[in-house]
């Protein structure tokens, strides 16, 4: 599964994207797996209430199932326009 990071999350983790082989049933389980990857990951995901998630390029919740998902993106609340 491809995992993407944007904005300050990307900077804190130090990666724009990475391939993750996780048997995570939902987004929250994926976050747990990501936290274990490095101290930077753990720090970046310390407070998920500050983050938003998209599964296969659609906005989703942290309880969204990941069965069949190919791309999960994490990012702060959007600030365009």
């Amino acid at each position: 599964m491809k995992v993407l990071y944007f904005a300050w999350l990307r900077e804190r983790i130090g990666l724009a994207e990475e391939d993750v082989e996780a048997e995570a049933p939902d987004v929250s389980a994926l976050v747990e797996a990501l936290r274990a990857r490095s101290p930077a990951h753990a720090a970046a995901f310390a407070d998920v209430s500050a983050l938003r998630v998209a599964v296969d390029q659609e906005a989703a919740g942290f309880d969204a199932p990941l069965k069949g998902a190919r791309e999960v993106a994490f990012f702060p609340p959007v600030t365009g326009g």
């Binding site: 904005a7 300050w8 390029q57 659609e58 702060p76 609340p77 959007v78 600030t79 326009g81």
Partner: protein
């Protein structure tokens, strides 16, 4: 309850580094057709003060986005507007990359027979774009660069349209 699908109307979405020309974009919605009586449009520009402090000068801004999802989310917002109002066309242009104060950032335009629908749809487009389209702004100030925080007022503006 399934709402009727709106007739196919021009929905034109661009995410680009280049600047845009407002006249040309409005013309694209109205050229060759005389059923459009009203175009409401919005242009957002880079201000030289930070939103947080209204103090430290902004020297430049970089807009990051999520290629792939960005276009899809803008198109979904435009289609939702066309479902809610009798529109004859929607145009959204959003710039990405590095921008200077007074540079244009975004154009949102809605065409309709009458002005009420055009105005409401344009405001809806901007409120949803501000809260749902994956763009992030990073401001450069003399104190360093920092990511712009999401504004609660934008959430409130978008919540007006919930139903």
């Amino acid at each position: 309850m399934s709402a009727p699908e709106p007739a196919q109307i021009p929905i034109l979405i661009s995410v680009q580094e280049a600047d845009f020309d407002v006249s040309a974009e409005i013309d694209a919605l109205t050229r060759g057709r005389a059923d459009v009586g009203a175009v409401a449009c919005f242009v957002g520009l880079v201000r030289d003060v930070t939103k947080a402090a209204e103090g430290a000068p902004v020297m430049a801004m970089t807009l990051e986005h999520y290629p792939g999802m960005t276009e899809k989310s803008l198109e979904a917002i435009a289609r939702e507007a066309a479902r809610r109002w009798p529109l004859l066309g929607v145009r959204i242009v959003h710039r990405v990359g590095r921008l200077a104060p007074a540079d244009r950032i975004v154009l949102a335009a809605a065409a309709s027979a009458h002005r009420g629908a055009a105005f409401e749809a344009a405001e809806f487009l901007m409120d949803y774009l501000k809260t749902r389209a994956p763009f992030w702004k990073k401001e450069e100030t003399p104190d360093g660069a920092r990511w712009v925080d999401a504004r609660e007022s934008d959430e409130h503006a978008a919540a007006r349209w919930e139903r």
